[in-house]
Amino acid sequence: MFKYITKRLYQMILVLFVVSIIVFFVMSFTGDPVLMMVTPDATQAQIDRARTELGLDKPLITQYFIFVKNILRGDFGKSYVFKQSAIKLIIERMPATLELVFVSVLLSIIVAIPLGVFAGAFPNKRSSKTIMLGSLLGISLPNFWVGMMLIFVFAVHFRVMPSSGRGEVVNFLGMRISIFTADGFKHIILPAVMLSIQSLAILLRLTRAGMMEVMKQDYIKFARSKGVLQNSLLFQHALKNALIPVITVFGIQIGKIIAFATVTETIFSWPGMGKLLIDSINRSDRPVMVAYLMIVAFIFVLLNFIVDIVYTSIDPRIDLR
């Protein structure tokens, strides 16, 4: 196990290394950051001075090493717009995004697992077929549009839900969290519903596929003939094994939810790091874009790593080599 973990850690670092190369070189070939820094009427001498100050007159390879060195010290440069450390801007907004992602994941698990178990255990029932068609619709929905429709129905038409922002926040373990206040809870419902629809549909389909596979096996037939009650047969005997493949895909799914949070946050003006990314793209604020990409890449690689470790430790059949 230890050997396996070291191997995976090594791979993690390799992936991050490749990502840093891609991000750095792609960014360097597009647009001149110096022109973003100086005033429009700057003289050539001023431009040159700014270039030297930023180290952009050095060869690209040297620049890359400086870039990596700075990243390792947690320095991603200053945002052109906010004139603040880019990494600080992102860290400040991270709790809002993680909170939204957490509620969405929870929501999809609560709804998807029971429905998936049912549809997988009784695949020929009409209600199971309806559930599957519904999940197919869930995958087909443009989720930004769903968010807008939620806003229109609940915020504009019936005026029962707020349409934007985070509402009241409280300090919890040093982070600003909104679900613990009534107002904040009200604010998170619509964005969380929007964000969870797609992952809910995918999780449901995965659970169903896993269940269908497991229900064919002998130990289920044996448990049934032994007289195990229906509910405990489905949720204890079958679900445990059906969930093993689900975990791998769902780990990646959480990464997708973080990525899609950019859309949700834009629609609901949720002050998270996804909205910061879109705003930075629209203002060509490169340091913030780079910082976001590197941090999100780190989160994804870490998620994959955790999923792999969990997967191998819950399924004894997996060969670690």
């Binding site: 992936v15 490749v18 990502v19 792609v26 960014m27 597009t30 068609l133 197919l136 619709l137 995958i139 087909s140 929905l141 443009p142 989720n143 930004f144 549009w145 807008m148 429709m149 806003i151 229109f152 504009v156 349409s163 990646i252 990464g255 997708k256 990525a259 899609f260 950019t262 859309v263 834009t266 629609i267 879109i278 793209i281 629209n282 874009m289 990409l293 999100v296 890449a297 994804f300 690689v301 994959n304």
Partner: protein
């Protein structure tokens, strides 16, 4: 002369037999009884018709400024008070007919989805065949890239590419191809590896067929079925990805609005109660992708021998 006629007739009979064979096949039998698949097909056909001959049928070209009048702005759908049948789904803030915009928009969305799929499948297949057939360094290089790419969500990669390359249909196609090739490469590589070991490929090698011929004539047809399934579903995914990117402002240019950009334009006026400008384009995206997915789901169950 008589000889060529006979050959022509033979080919005709062969064609007829093929059609008959298809109509009597298990695949078609299952298709006939699968209502979602049939509905999906009908939706796809309607959208294809809309994209090809639709512009001839609608009342205006929403991008010809001489045809739109500001006077017509903010008209609700025809069945709502104040609506006119001239604008069945209402008009937007510029006086453009929503139905006409949707018809022109579906054209762009479908074009991007289909072309993106064709490009990805071509590049992915070539790379997958190369990786699987030749193995060694080529294989590990291609697959390493694929692995790294797969650990990040496709939408995020496409968003990153578009935010640097800038808006534009050509850039969108490049971005979609860069995220879309991986799944074909993986599938084709896997299939090639298992096909490669089979006797018919060995036999081909023994009689001295060149690798190119073994790959295109013997291995490729065997991976075709899984490719069809992936390709169908990918068109839907690409249409959604394009819509999302356009919604975020990094997709199609303002002059060529796809369905996604229409939704975005409608979002700006949603709070003032102009719901139809965003509701209908979104509804059409949903219908189109749902139709594609219903057919794709059927194809996957039918053509993927692993699930049977």
């Amino acid at each position: 002369m008589a000889e060529t006629n006979k050959i022509g007739k033979d080919i005709e009979i062969k064609k007829k037999n093929r059609l008959k064979e298809f109509l009597e096949s298990e695949f078609f039998f299952n298709y006939k009884r699968n209502i979602p698949a049939i509905i999906g097909t009908i939706i796809i056909i309607i959208f294809l018709l809309m994209a090809t001959i639709g512009p001839l049928l609608v009342t205006q070209n929403p991008y010809n400024l001489s045809e739109i009048q500001l006077m017509d702005a903010y008209k609700p759908p025809a069945w709502v008070d104040g609506g006119e049948w001239k604008f069945p789904l209402g008009t937007d803030s510029q006086g453009r007919d929503i139905l006409s915009s949707v018809v022109y928009g579906s054209r762009i969305s479908l074009f991007i989805g289909l072309t993106g799929m064709l490009l990805s499948s071509f590049i992915g297949t070539v790379l997958g065949l190369a990786a699987g057939y030749f193995g060694g360094k080529i294989d590990s290089f291609i697959m390493r890239i694929a692995d790294i790419q797969l650990s990040f969500p496709a939408t995020l990669i496409a968003l990153f590419i578009m935010s640097i390359a800038g808006r534009g249909i050509d850039n969108l196609l490049i971005a979609l191809t860069l995220v879309g090739w991986v799944i074909y490469a993986r599938t084709v590589r896997g299939a090639t590896l298992s096909e490669k070991k089979k006797e018919y490929v060995e036999a081909g090698k023994v009689i001295g067929l060149p690798s190119r011929k073994i790959i295109t004539k013997h291995i490729l047809p065997n991976v075709m079925t899984s490719m069809i399934v992936i390709a169908t579903i990918q068109v839907g995914t690409f249409i959604l990805t394009e819509a999302t990117l356009s919604f975020l402002g990094v997709g199609v240019p303002v002059t060529r609005p796809s369905l996604g950009l229409l939704v975005k334009n409608g979002f700006d006026v949603l709070f003032s109660g102009l719901w139809w400008a965003s509701t209908f384009p979104g509804l059409f995206i949903m219908l189109l992708v749902f139709g594609i997915n219903m057919l794709g789901d059927f194809l996957r169950d039918e053509l993927n021998p692993r699930l049977k």
